[in-house]
């Protein structure tokens, strides 16, 4: 599984980082999230799905 954050959709709610703190980092200036490593470890897949569900902008994309 891979995860990425669509930076055009992200609004800085930071909910993804709450759901999966190991998968997302937040930019200091606007709270926008990004995935430092797009590859999701198998043990983190459920958290990645939770993060995608938690995003009000549907900016967290899994593939």
């Amino acid at each position: 599984m891979q995860v990425r954050v669509d930076s055009d959709l992200c609004q800085g709610h930071t909910l993804c980082a709450m759901a999966a703190p190991d998968l997302f980092a937040l930019r200091d200036e606007d709270g926008h999230a990004y995935a430092p490593d797009e590859n999701v470890p198998a043990a983190q897949e459920e958290r990645a799905q939770e993060a995608a569900r938690s995003c009000p902008e549907r900016a967290v994309q899994l593939s």
């Binding site: 709610h13 930019r27 569900r53």
Partner: protein
Amino acid sequence: MVVGAGLGGLRTIERLRADGYPGRITLIGAEEHEPYDRPPLSKQVLSGDWEPGRAVLRDRAGLAGLDVTARLGTGAVALHGTTVELDDGGTVAGDAVVIATGLVARRLPHQPDGVAVLRTLDDALALRRALGTARSMIVIGAGFVGAEVTCAALRRGVRVTVLEALDAPCQRVLGRRVGELATRLFTEAGADLRCGTRIGRLLDGRTVELADGSVLSADLVLAGVGAVPDLRWLDGAGVRVNDRLACNERGRVVGMSGVWAVGDAAAWWNPATGDHHGGEHWTLTGEQAARAACDILGTEPPAAGPPYVWSDQFGLKVQVIGRTDTADELVQLHGTGLDGGPVKGTVVGYLAGGVLAGAVSFGAPARFARYRALVASGAPREKVLATIE
């Protein structure tokens, strides 16, 4: 069986299927629309940035993918045990019923039909059309919806008068002192905000008589005075409905068997605060849906985070985390808005008994992010203050 095809109902079904529920699922939705998300209605949909289809959470093909029988455009009119009676005369029986019917716009006494409200997708599209030709508007109620509509109207060059009964906008959420920051957002953007204004009656779709007898009129009037559950269909179901449906901490409706409730129509028992609390929080609805689904399945529910809600208004994002209504002390964590400085960049902490219960940010999402964990853990004052440095 899930009654209510909004966020709560859909998330319940998604969780049931994700965790392997094999049985039949029927989704009852009073609106014809596919399940859609409400926050964009007063934001991107109203502004015209989004076409309405983008607010859809799951289309009919997506529902079919969940193996759901969707009966959209069909309302529930009665509940007998775990059998739901529908307005088309049919009935649906299930082993479990999840009530996720949400809220309807609150109406003022004798509200004429010509007065706009904003709760549904159809409301948003009607308001968007009306804003296209209006030159003046009266917004009754300066809550989040009132603020977002005011912004959309001002951006289209419409003159806006905002009538608020309390002393400050969003006072129930923000409190009196932080509400002053919201006051400045309205007035600095050019809205004519009149707080402490009581409505006498609505004369027609364009005319408002105030309690002092004066009369205001505009091309368009919006009643943004909150929303309430419409649970009249449960009369006679043997449940005591006190505004919202009282549930235990797993979403089971008190006094009923085999019936759960999630989202804005429900007030779940909160063991930490010792009360039944209904939130109107987007995140809370999703969490309740997951927890109720797990309770139905007998699986371990996910951990709950603090409730979160946001509003896009006047060019910045207002974010609210946790509970602000229990606070007995305010701390300005960032910025100088409470001292008369810029509203943007101000973050305020709400302490209850020396513990961080909630926080509000005005256009400072990056700084705000760290307080989520502190609210979740119930951080004491010293720890909160140490975080600022």
